[in-house]
Symmetry: none
Subunit: 151 residues, 2 copies
């Protein structure tokens, strides 16, 4: 997708809208062309890296994310499904409780234990469950770090 326009003499520079687009007048020093190509390549790589496809839990309890997959047992699958429905947003403990055990409400830390196990289960595929204290849980990529500031 990145492109470098080679501009012959006597033409106007093109209008560039895209970060993955550039131009240069030819003839030009080889080092100049290489430099611009390298810059575009870096940008394309960075773009691809930031484009993450959302994880998906299929009907057979298989979670696919980050190029890998893990089996997810029934209860955890129900929890995970509701977390995925609100991917990146907070899900209350009550919602999870209802989703995981539709018939009867479980004890306080039954949910805790299953969340813990779900955490460990999804870690290998690059997902993380964050706690929002007294509010609920939040599913996101484990590369996103809450509250960390990049220089």
């Amino acid at each position: 997708m990145p492109r470098l326009l080679l501009l012959e003499d006597g033409h106007h520079p093109p209008e560039v809208n895209d970060c993955l687009e550039d131009w240069i007048r030819v003839p030009a020093p080889e080092i100049d062309v290489q430099s611009r190509v390298a810059t575009l390549a870096d940008r394309a790589a960075a773009h691809g890296a930031t484009q993450e496809q959302p994880p998906h839990l299929d009907d057979d309890g298989v979670l696919r994310a980050g190029g890998n997959w893990v089996p997810v047992p029934p209860v955890e699958a129900r929890l995970l499904r509701t977390l995925l429905e609100r991917y990146g947003a907070v899900v209350s403990r009550e919602s999870l409780s209802r989703a995981g055990w539709p018939d009867r409400a479980p004890d306080r830390n039954v949910l805790d234990v299953h969340v813990l196990r779900l955490r460990r289960r999804i870690a290998p595929v690059g997902l993380a469950i964050r706690t929002v204290r007294s509010r609920g849980y939040l599913l996101e990529s484990d590369k996103r770090q809450q509250g960390v500031r990049n220089a």
Copy 2:
């Protein structure tokens, strides 16, 4: 923040990491320089439009700003909400006090402590609470400089 490096003959092109950075060999046709400047200006405008979305505190006590998020506990959330309602303007200590503790008025110092905690909590997402002495507080981006700037 966009910058165009004017490269004299005999030098290597710089390593470019940023979409807001570019370079050109001088001397060069005026139209070429103008084109690259215009491109950078467009990108800077686009970046500003997409990057600087106003901070938002959702109902689950999650503050999203600057591409990151932090959980905000109840009392601080109430303070933050009133500060956000008057984003960039002064909010009196009385208003904050009423917002944070609707039932009873807290000790003078309790508000101070919570403002301090809130300051530290929102710093990672690029927000800052400024003091306007004997008037109140003001919430803004931490990149803005308080105080007088000479031209």
